[in-house]
Point group: C2
Amino acid sequence: MQPEKLHEIDTIARFGAVLHEDDHLYREGDPFSAVYAVRSGVFKTYTLNGDGLQRVLGFHLPGELVGLDGIASNRYFSCAVALGTATACRFSFDALLDSARRFPDLQKSLLRLMSQEINASRRAVLERPAKERVVWFLLDFSRRLHERGQSATHFFLPMMRSDIANYLNITSETVSRAFSRLQTEGLIGIKQKELWLNDIPALIHLSSI
Amino acid sequence: MQPEKLHEIDTIARFGAVLHEDDHLYREGDPFSAVYAVRSGVFKTYTLNGDGLQRVLGFHLPGELVGLDGIASNRYFSCAVALGTATACRFSFDALLDSARRFPDLQKSLLRLMSQEINASRRAVLERPAKERVVWFLLDFSRRLHERGQSATHFFLPMMRSDIANYLNITSETVSRAFSRLQTEGLIGIKQKELWLNDIPALIHLSSI
DNA sequence: CGTAACTTTGACGCCCCTCAAGTTGGGTGG
DNA sequence: CCACCCAACTTGAGGGGCGTCAAAGTTACG
């Protein structure tokens, strides 16, 4: 959103407490009353299928909005959990709607944000082979970190391999094998959760998204 | 949306001409100025990838809204084409936004519609085996027809096998084999584009969505 | 009736899932 | 501080589902 609107937003925002690993912003089925803007750290959103297993919907960095999926049924459609220490800013949805009515720019921003989610490129990548999905994930994460002033070539992956795998709809073994292969090819370096992207152009060529 | 709001909507709606097979409501990249409500017939939405191939995003029945994806970038993100004779109702987006400001219920309806698209169950089904995808497609189409007063057990599929396949991210051969298998199992009957669902409970059990 | 587009069916191969075993690293308690 | 434990990660072997390729069957339309 535009910086000149931030003072408007502040009037309806309530800052939440500091969250730690496994703390939830909200859970699937909770009554919907607010959306949250990530302020620091990384959040994971997921739903639970019939067997109680997670289906990872996304990883959310500072500045991104979570909870919009609750609009549809007045209950949250997903769970949002902190991956490590994190903070988020709460926006009462009723107040946000009211402001949106009075400020057309805010209304448009809200609609634009939701429209972007509908068009999300993640859907396209789920139709590609496993290796391309993994490369796309790394490039997407890198780009979003870079947009927030962090290094695009050296960063940490706060989530487990199984979360990445679940998000990309492949198995953690396949993610592991893809990482290993990319490392022996020299395109990335990886040590635990620490990651280097050595040849972003080559990676972009590989992902072809 | 609520019937009691329809007279409001009519004031901003402009009825378009009758469309025929292959006529487009809009094309990817066109400047975004309006959304469309399907009034009769079926529309297909799709994007074009780098090689000029289609990627089918959805099939849209009377009462459903298409074109919302254009909000994100002020240009349509997809193409919308009629599958046979069809009509659609045009809503100027600026007028719609203005009305949404004055009528909170309309604002909420719009947001709810978009939120539903974000949560669309289609995403979940793309993570299932081919046969389940096909069964889900049939059940989804059947349900939506039934909600519009048509038969849930006997109907026509206006799209080609390759469109169904593309939509479900499998090949048309796999769709064909799934149809054949379901027919020999007695769960469906299929002759050209004419379809019977003989055992919906069994099909629901198969799709497990 | 002929042609082109669509659909169906079969054979084959590869990618990725499953299953299994081994390795690594962080956390805990003695 | 060290030994232990458990979760997470890595690596390998084997199998099955689905894509690819090919060919025959079917329908629409001139």
